[in-house]
């Protein structure tokens, strides 16, 4: 709060990044630890990958992999339970106890034979029925060959977190203050020394001690002697303070944009936008923004997804790419009341208290539906590169009235094929005899802006 008023961010840029050239031991050691850790992980992964056993029959393994992924993987994992049982070792388990091939091909039909093992498995996984699959015995053999020889991939080398933790700014202030304090102490003691010297000189000259005056009195006397200089200094300070207050007043209630640090509150669950919505070619999941914020095209609100939307995927995903990620996924499971061990809901739910980031005052009306389904804007046009740079959501746009109406003034409306503007276009291009002649002026510059359709009418947003 205070820095927003008294220390606008642009002021921070005026300072050198490390004014005294003092070493910043904390930063250095953190970086070196990280590089050591990365190197260690790299060596570990290299040695492990070398030790990893290769399957003897590569062709069989490959065909088994293809068949497994196409036919089995949506319900079975190799080593852990999902919709159906883990498949590793199934072949050994079935040996001499029944016909594995018949069981795989049509489990419900084979169940009717009353095989003991089949009944046991069915009891554990019912009522989900395994869809009969059209596979030959050779293909089933290939699948089990793949499953028994599959080795979990070695954990990726930990990706260094993007962006150094930057506490440089506050460090600068600290160093500056230490410097100022040092100067103050030196200055005060020097003035004390100077005064004792002056006293000594005056006594030596036989004029007796100087009259006892306070520092303030001496300062006043000095200032009175240097009237012109002091009035310039006073004027300068006054103008500087007024200008800074004026600037600060402009950003009261503004939590985004170029002029203030973006509002970026910590959320109860540290959801990573980049990982979920980022580009697929960068190893991210590329889920459409509107999958989770599905009401953006139907409602005033883009909507915070309820946990059931998270659980659409996180029933099957309980471990993250990092340990921190796994911790956050556990939080979702807690809120949704999901027991990953049993694979069932416990019914003990708890709402997530998300922190609202974009808070538009009540006197301005804004609808996501209008901007998304009619205006056909991309989310990123107002929310910034949220899918590429923002692990944590922050307020990117200033949401000031200037920002709104600047866009309304410049933005060309996407008229063609929209449906919403067919009537408007018909009238604009209509017959002059019908009294639509004066509308032609809007077509002169070749584009229709939001303003020309009434985007600057007060009551469009304030009513």
């Amino acid at each position: 709060m205070l820095p927003r008023l008294f220390l606008p961010p642009d002021f921070r840029d005026l300072l050198p990044s490390n004014p005294l050239g003092m070493p910043l031991p904390a930063c250095l050691s953190r970086r070196s630890i990280r590089s050591i850790r990365t190197a260690f992980a790299l060596i570990l992964s290299l040695s492990l990958s070398a030790a990893q056993a290769q399957p003897a029959d590569a062709a069989l393994y490959a065909s088994g992999e293809k068949l497994f992924k196409g036919n089995c993987a949506s319900c079975h994992k190799v080593d852990s339970k999902m919709t159906g049982p883990a498949l590793r070792g199934a072949k050994v388990k079935w040996e001499g106890k029944g016909d594995l091939y018949a069981w795989v091909k049509n489990s419900q039909a084979y169940l009717k034979t009353g095989n003991e093992l089949a009944v046991k498995i069915w009891d554990e996984y019912k009522p989900t029925i395994m869809t009969p699959v059209a596979l030959t015995n050779e293909e089933i053999d290939a699948i089990f060959y793949y499953v028994d020889n599959w080795a979990p991939p070695v954990a990726d080398t930990p990706k260094p977190p993007t962006g150094e933790p930057t506490d440089q700014g506050s460090n600068n202030w600290l160093w500056l203050l230490v410097l100022a304090l040092l100067f103050l102490i030196v200055g005060l003691s020097l003035s004390g020394v100077k005064r004792s010297l002056a006293n000594a000189v005056s006594e030596a000259e036989g004029k007796g001690t100087l009259p006892e005056t306070s520092r303030m009195q001496r300062f006043r006397a000095w200032a009175w002697e240097h009237k012109v200089f002091m009035s310039f200094v006073g004027l300068f300070i006054t103008v500087w303070v007024i200008l800074k207050l004026w600037d600060a007043a402009w950003v009261i209630g503004v939590y985004g944009g170029d002029e203030v640090p973006h509002y970026k509150p910590e959320q109860p669950i540290l959801f990573n936008h980049t990982l979920h919505a980022g580009k697929a070619n960068k190893g991210n999941l590329a889920i459409n923004c509107q999958y989770c914020h599905s009401s953006a095209e139907k409602s005033k609100h883009a909507g915070i997804p309820s946990v059931n939307v998270c659980m659409n995927c996180h029933k099957a995903v309980s471990t993250g790419r990092t340990e921190a990620g796994t911790k956050e996924i556990k939080k979702i499971h807690q809120h949704a009341g999901w027991d990953p061990e049993k694979g069932a809901f416990t019914g003990q739910e708890e709402p997530v208290r998300w922190v609202k980031v974009h808070n538009l005052p009540d006197h301005a009306y804004f609808s996501h539906a209008t901007h998304v389904s009619v205006g056909k804007l991309e989310c990123q046009e107002c929310h910034g590169p949220i899918d590429e740079q923002m692990d944590v959501a922050e307020q990117w746009a200033p949401l000031t009235m200037k920002w709104c109406i600047t866009c309304h003034n410049e933005r060309e409306v996407k008229m063609a094929g929209n449906g919403y503007y067919d009537e408007v276009m018909a009238r604009l291009n209509g017959d002059t005899i019908l009294g639509h002649g004066e509308l032609k002026k809007y077509l002169e510059d070749g584009k229709i802006t939001v303003k020309e359709l009434g985007g600057w009418e007060c009551a469009k947003c304030h009513y």
Binding site: S74, C75, P265, N284, I287, C313, D362
Partner: protein
């Protein structure tokens, strides 16, 4: 005396400069009652009390979720009978029997046309593509980059899945891999997606069966 003043002043300055602003606080609000108006808005944190009523009030407000489910048994109203049919309850239960029954009896209440397939394609791109892939081969980025259990291909294991089963799976989810999408998509939208899935099953051609307008059943 003056030394103490100077030290106090520099300490105050230090205090002011050292706090870099609480990232969890949005900052100064211009007229807080405009941000938290008495009229209830979705997602606003009413745990901050602009009128300074009481601690008890704040606690109560904090524990009041703004996003809620509609009352059980509520049926949305629509004056348009063509739309109103979509608001009726879904008759098939979320059981293996319900799945089979939906596959056998449930038919699309809307005729599959190029328009519905196009709309279905747009919805598919937002809600399905990240797992099922562009053409439904089960190769979306969530599967490829996220090691997610891959769904069956529309040209492979799911080629002959009847429309009732597609719709049923969209509504309730299927196995562990696919979650329910009834809260994300309206019934009409789910049928449009179903049409697009059928279009993909048929090798990106309009299906002949669906073109011969099947009469709506159980809707």
């Amino acid at each position: 005396m003056s030394t103490r003043n100077a030290i106090t002043a520099s300490l105050a300055l230090a205090l002011m400069a050292s706090c870099d602003g609480d990232p969890n606080s949005p900052g100064v609000e211009y007229m807080p009652d405009m941000y938290r108006s008495p009229a209830v808005e979705a997602y606003v944190d009413y745990g901050q009390d602009p009128y300074f009523r009481s601690e008890e009030f704040v606690r109560k407000q904090r524990n009041r979720p703004s996003a809620r489910k509609p009352v059980e048994g509520t049926i949305a109203f629509s004056a348009d009978p063509a739309k109103a049919q979509f608001n009726m309850p879904y008759p098939f239960p979320n059981t293996p029997e319900g799945y089979e029954a939906a596959g056998a009896q449930l038919k699309s209440p809307i005729v599959m046309t190029e328009a519905t397939v196009d709309k279905g394609k747009a919805i598919y791109a937002k809600f399905c593509q990240h797992c099922h892939g562009d053409k439904g081969a089960g190769d979306g980025p969530v599967v490829n980059n996220g090691k997610y259990p891959p769904p069956g291909s529309y040209s492979g294991p799911l080629k002959d899945l009847p429309e009732g089963k597609i719709f049923h799976s969209l509504t309730y989810g299927r196995n562990v891999g696919m979650g329910p999408h009834a809260s994300l998509l309206s019934k009409e939208e789910r049928w449009m997606v179903t049409h697009y899935v059928q279009y993909l099953q048929n090798g990106e051609k309009m299906t002949r069966d669906a073109m011969a307008a099947a009469p709506p059943v159980n809707q």
